[in-house]
Symmetry: C2
Subunit: 341 residues, 2 copies
């Protein structure tokens, strides 16, 4: 491709003039940082190589541990953390797990060996109320700063960023209650996970408040399609007309379970997911879900970690983020006839 | 949770006896490797920590570079490479890019600095026919073995693993032809990418062979939802009744474009995607797509790279993999009335 064409393409993609693109590519001053980034992003998006002179040496290495990549919310966390680290000149070291594969402890060992400047744990063992915390104490003893995302562990004295789980359940139950549902069930992961405990607490409280139900049906399986299918089977047997699920994958499993019993979503059964990512707008039905504000969480976590790396320890803090209810097509009005207790 | 309950849970999940689980957890001999792995996978899946004694030191570090994680096929590649590396005791170092973020060259530099034993490139700059190959020659000069996945670059003398792109187009066109379609368009990425070139070549050949069409409509945009939407707009204007798309995200964009023009999929327009991942069975409509055999490709790539790491250079080789056509709900019979040229 001729240079001129490339300049025009990049300018169009970035929404700036070709003169600005040229200034950025030649490393000239007088371009706002935001504009500079837009030009680099356009260059990358169109697959062009960056000029050699724009390549800066990394400011440092930050480890990122995610549990897996099957649930699209974890790739989204990885992408957002990468973006925010790169903005500050840091390079991410992404560690992802698969069942039977490399464990969190092996990754921690790797990171220590490779002198990372800090670590971000997303839904790691810190979120398991029964897991040993000595692995994290070990990092503190080595003066390696770290922060946790989701599942704030009260035993760890580090900055923690998480979804307001009780509040998320309040939002879900309120939505379903407003649609006339009273028999609402919760399908979520295992109870020893701290996020699950928060969901259960919030769900119980919301069901008491809105539906005057004392012991609402709750089933704990796994955060997967299969887990959702299994949990929905039990909850439908118990007469639920609406299901709140602990992940979007569980919600798709619940939809599948409902349909295999001849029930329609949302005509007969309403389903709410949790996490959200762009693909869930294209599912059948498009999924109503509680969106984790992934970008906001990652920005806060990265900013805090880099402060710790650059300026030393910060006080223990917990930041909670309220999810947004994205109403799509998997929730609808309850049938009056089915609502007689 | 009491140890007894955990043993039973793990045994059930792994489909083995509690005695076998106990043997594995205590590192006793007499358990087949496959069974041992099933038990470890069950332990991980249920979120239990592995006993300290089972933690082995890593055999080495292998870098994995993927272009991004938004298209679910890339997280799938990352997961599969991780699984196969972990099976052999190696630890993956996953590097993912975002527009404007850390570049492939910066990651290569990082990997060299951290003494990786080898690198796997998935759809990297090697797949861009216009990109400089000096970055790869540099690795060869440093004796760092690497292999490439997708987009076999004829200028690189390393083992390359890729989808048989021309064959994939043959399969897609044959399927659409058998449904009565004759006006078929191809929506794919930019022409300088080697996989795109293969698709275009195969598409032209198949359209000639099955539909006796010499210059079938082809639109090159980006492999994204927006890219699919834009390309579909042009192809629909040109009277296509069926669209073959270069990625599943493009296909969803094409469905969106068709619907925004009041057309139904597959009643009025058939759409085929490319890549596949479990979520595309749940889209509306469930997507007919060409599935990349991700697991098979990753196993071959990892095995070859580890041979190079352990036994030295292997001859340049190219392995091509034929995708499977997964027929779901986005393709259907062409309307006879619309097929009059």
């Amino acid at each position: 491709m001729a240079p001129r064409t490339r300049l025009t393409d990049v300018a169009e993609q970035a929404g700036v003039s070709t003169a600005t693109v040229s200034r950025v590519l030649n490393g000239k001053p007088g371009v706002a940082e935001e504009t500079r980034r837009a030009v680099l992003a356009a260059l990358d998006l169109l697959g062009h190589e960056r000029p050699e002179k724009l390549r800066a040496r990394s400011a440092g290495l930050v480890g990122l541990i995610v549990p897996e990549l099957t649930n699209p919310v974890f790739p989204a966390f990885a992408q957002q953390v990468e973006t925010h680290l790169a903005d500050r000149g840091f390079t991410p070291l992404l560690c992802t797990q698969t069942p039977g594969g490399v464990t969190e402890d092996q990754y921690i060992e790797l990171m220590v060996d490779h002198h990372v400047d800090g670590i971000i744990f997303v839904s790691g063992l810190h979120a398991d109320s029964q897991a040993d915390i000595s692995r994290y104490e070990h990092l503190t003893s080595l003066d390696i700063p770290f922060v946790t995302i989701n599942g704030t562990n009260p035993r760890l004295l580090v900055p923690a960023f998480s979804i307001d789980e009780p509040c998320s359940m309040e939002i879900a139950v309120r939505h379903l209650h407003s649609l006339g549902h009273r028999r609402i069930g919760l399908a979520t992961g295992q109870e020893r996970y701290i996020p699950t405990q928060g969901k259960i607490r919030g769900f119980r409280r919301a069901m008491k408040r809105y539906c005057e139900v004392d012991n609402p049906p709750i089933v704990n399986t796994l955060f997967t399609l299969e887990g959702g299918r299994a949990a929905a089977g039990i909850l439908l047997e118990r007469g639920c007309t609406a299901l709140v699920c602990g992940s979007d994958l569980m919600a798709l499993g619940a939809v599948h379970q409902a349909r295999s019993r001849g029930l329609e979503v949302p005509t007969d059964i309403s389903v709410i997911g949790f996490d959200d990512s762009p693909l869930f707008a294209f599912t059948d039905p498009p999924l109503t879900t509680l969106r984790q504000p992934v970008e906001t969480i990652c920005r806060a976590a990265v900013t805090t970690l880099l402060t710790m790396i650059e300026d030393g320890p910060v006080p223990r803090m917990e930041m909670v983020f309220v999810p947004e209810l994205i109403v799509r097509g998997s929730t609808g009005a309850a049938h009056a006839a089915k609502e007689t207790p």
